[in-house]
Every structure is written in structure tokens, then in C-alpha cells.
Amino acid sequence: MKILAAIKQVPARDSQLRVNDSGTWIEEPDTSEINEPDAYALEEALQLREKAGGEVVALCAGPESASQTIREALAKGADRAIHIEDDDLGRFDSLGIARILAAAAATEQPDLILTGLQSDDLGFGQTGVILAELLGMAHATIIMKVEPRGTGIRVKRELEDGWFQNTDLPLPAVLTIQSGINKLRYATLMGIKKAKLKEVRKLTASGLGVAVEPSVRLERVFMPQRTKQTRMIEGSVRDQAAALVEALRHEVRVL
């Protein structure tokens, strides 16, 4: 089975974020890491390869510095990688990013594409689903478990309220993976050494023929604004209590 693991590099969880000068995105953070659900998607891909054989190719769109995340994927055991290098992916919307990934994936003819269910930075949760549509593949979201089954796969999806759905899919397919479904491996020192020798194919959005034509634009990025208002409630104690309960119930909605 040929599996593509689509991974993204995001700011590390407790890094200091600074909004850029134009207020359209954040400055490149000091520390970055692999998007958490993507780490589980990669791990699932590696475990499937261990069970069913085949190849795992890491697919990543990101700036030059994303090579760190790609190298980590190779060190953990991906056979090779594709890096769609672009310093300003913010020009694209989810559809644009999915078009770039789809164009790159089409060159590989994978049986299965695994990716995280959403990204830790933007959190749209759309890329995987749009990717499947563009490629005309079956897809399922919020996957807890994947098992090869005949010529297809059986997956377990997380629904709401503690419910799960088990369903069969034909291949090729795209799955968006939930965090925590497996135990992440550590890159071994031997793996890190070997990663230096593995192929990383570099592509660009324009080389893949994907134009910048966003239909969704990020208007402004800003830090949550703190506001503090004090309102004095007048009247008798009885009236004050009633007004307070009214405000807590209908305005602040904590009761």
C-alpha cells in the first residue's frame, strides 16, 4: 500500500506569538513543531506500512524551515518526502492549499492519504476533506482506527456524545486522523542518521500549476482584547439581587 502522510508545521504550542506588521498573520515563531493530529496521522501510516507493507511518503507544504518537520518524519520512518516550498502560504485559502496538495498527490497515485483532522494554528478542519473531493477519492473524518480489509479499509469514526461509527471504504481514500489514537514513536538516533540520505522532492505551487485565487481571505489577526466594564446596580437589596440574577442568567449566561 502506498500511503501519503500530509503533515504541516505549526508554531510550537507554548511559543510566544507575535502578530506581523501588516496584521494579517503571525511572525515566524522561534520554535515550530509538527501539527499534533498530523503526528498521529504519520504514526498511523507507519503502523499500516508495518502491517501491510508498502511505502510511506510524507507530504508537506510550508516554508523552507518546514524541512525540520519533514526531516523528523523521515527520521521516524517515512521512506521519502515531498516538500512544496512556499514562504507565504497565507496567500492561499483552504481550497488553494488543498489544490496544491492534490496536484502533488496526483503525481504519486497513492492508495491512502492520511492527515490530521485539523491544524493547531488555523483549525479550519477542511483541507483533508477538500483534498479528497479534488482527487475524487472516498473520505472519512475524525478517524480513531484503520484496518486493511480486503481491497479496502475499515475505519472507526468518532461521532458526538461518545458514539462511534464503523464503516468500510474503498481505496483510494483520504482519512483525517484524530489525535491520541496511537502511541507516537520517538525518532531513533539511527533513524535521524538515515534521514539524511532519504529523498526529499521539492515542488512549488506555481510549478504545480496552482494559481493564487483565494475566495476566503484572512482579514485581520489580533490578540484577544481585554475589556473590563463595571456596572453599578442601584435600588433596594431585593431589586439589586433580582437585577444581578437577571444579568448573570441572560447577559453573562453563567447561571
Binding site: A12, Q68, A75, Y186, T188, L189, K193
Partner: protein, 389 residues
Amino acid sequence: MAQFRGVDYLLIDSMLSEEELLVRQSVRQFADAEVMPLIRDCYREGRFPTHLIPKLGELGYFGANLDAYGCAGMSSVEYGLLMQELERADSGLRSFCSVQGALVMYPILTYGSKEQKDQWMPRLRTGSAVGCFGLTEPGFGSNPAGMQTTARQDNGGWILNGEKTWITNGSAADIAVVWARTPDGIRGFLVEKGTPGFTSSDLHGKMSMRASVTSSLALADCRVPASAMLPGAKGLKGPLSCLTQARYGIGWGVIGAAMDCYETARQYSILRTQFDGKPIAAHQLVQEKLAWMITEITKAQLLALHCGRLKDQGKLDPAHVSMLKRNNVGMALECARLSRDLLGANGIMDEAPIMRHMCNLETVKTYEGTDHIHALVIGERVTGIAAYK
């Protein structure tokens, strides 16, 4: 405590390669997830976390800087970062890997016969065999040239007699590299666990390195075959070359212990309030201690990094390593003491890692060449006069 994100005041990370950063990140994740949650209990109970040994092997942490028999072939800086992250967890864990790699695998690979290498290197790399290094004796620590353990030829083999002590992993070891005096000078022997006449007993009552096994080895008419001798090592420079490897790792490792103490104290000083709800970090005396620590840690990082680059160029000699080991251990011990001070009474509890590191570092100051002896090595280098003879 928040997740450890490293200590990098002077953008030293910008001097590290992508591989070096990945090695550090991977070991850091392992130490945080697999070692940190249990190390306090191990220390309290005086036991090494034995169940980690196969995992350490699988991850390539044994003999990581060697490039044979499936070892990881790390550069000197990558190896140093491995030691740093292990010792951030505990000096005992770093010692375990130091001994296995630098004091057992290194001499077997460097001085051993093909049969010795084939037999032991794969097992030592995966951790299915544990090794120890027997040089120090009850009466001979800083002066190993005086050793009294002897080996005499008898019937095509060797008979070993003597006692070794302060041996990390001694009773846990499947194989001991034992150094003994022969008519031909000091030679190394591979003595297998269970060889008649070879026994070990653990040292109890340690107030330091409690998450590490320390033993004495006794050799009483212990007969080993001729093939047990390391053919390539003759004279004291055999064992001393191993110690240079291990000391290099210590120079890096203790930075990890210092970082853990410093970071604990830094975070505590910001959260802890006193006098009108002000964080203690707002006081000048507290800031001075933090400033001293971060400055000394940064200098130690630069020293270690430079030594690592020199080592990869084949230019690092033992007198350089003496400066690295002595300076960085002294720095780490002082950081532990200052950090304890900043935590006040809370600093003496084992909820914080500081007393554990401090006690461990008292051992690290002494073992693998005491602070004094390394000063004399540096002194000899700059004066040409050996003060220890």
C-alpha cells in the same frame, strides 16, 4: 512545571544543524515522557529504572557516537546533546549510557579482537547485555597507576586477583572490562558475569546517584581464557583514553542538570510571591542569581559546543577535556545550590529536582577525574610541570 523548551540565551541553537536539533528534540521527548515521571521514585527507592534498558538500546543511545555494529554514528555534538538531555533527567541515567558506550563499547571496539567485538558489540548496543568498567580500586582513585589488581599467565589463560570499587553498573553487568597489572604493563580483560572467582556486591548508603547501581568487584584467583584480554590496549593510556571519551560526555551532560535546576528556579521565582504580592523574581538578589546562572550555563554551552566541533576535527586532546569537565561540573553544582536557595524551603523537597541533581553532581565532581586532578592537568598544560607526580 511548564514543558521544558530549552535554555538558549545567546541563540546558540543557530549554531546547531537540523540533525543536531532533531537529536536533542527526540531525546528530550523521550526523557520527558519516559523518565521524568518515575525518576523521583527511583531515586527515593535507590533503584535504576531497569525496564528502560531495551528502549535506550532501541533508540540508539548506547555507543551512539560509534560507527560500527549498527551504532548510530552520531557526531560529537549530537552525542553531547544526547548526554545533556539524559542528564537533565538524572545523572544516574546519563552515567548508565556513558559507561555502556564510552567505557565498555568504546574499548571493545577500539582495542578488542574481532571475536570480542562480534560477541559483545551487538548485545551491548541493544542493551541485551550490560557492561561495567573496572579501573578504580579501594586504595587507588586519582592514581590508577598504583593499581594492585594483577593478572598472571597460567596454562594458556590468565588468573586475575584484586578488588575494584565505585563501579557503576557493577552488579548489573554481564561483562566487566577489568584493568590489571601484568608483567607486560597494564592490560584490559573482559570478565563475564558468573566466571568462578568473580563476584560483585553493591555499595549501600549512597546519598548521591541513588538511581544508579554502584558496586565493588572482587577477583579471587579468577581464571579467564587468553582470548579475554583486549589485544590492542597496553599501558595506562588504554583506560585513560576511555575516560577521555566519558569525560567529554560529562561536560555536556551536566549542562542538562544545570538547565533543569535553573529553569525550575526561574519559573518558581516568577510564580512565588512575597512582600505585598510581588514575585520574588522582582528582587535584585534573586535576579542576580538567575543572571549568574544563565551566564554560566551559556559559557558552558559554548565550551561544550567548541570542544565537540574540535573533537570531530580530531583536535580535542585530554587537557581540553579536563577544562570542559571541570568547568562545567563546577558550574552545574553551583547552579544547583543557587537554585535550591531560590526555592527556599521548597527546594529541599524531592518534589523539585534540585536536591537530587545537587547530590548527583557531588559524585560527578569526583568521578572520572576529580576537580583537583583536572586542575592539575590544566596546570601541567600551561606550566609544563606535572604537580601530581
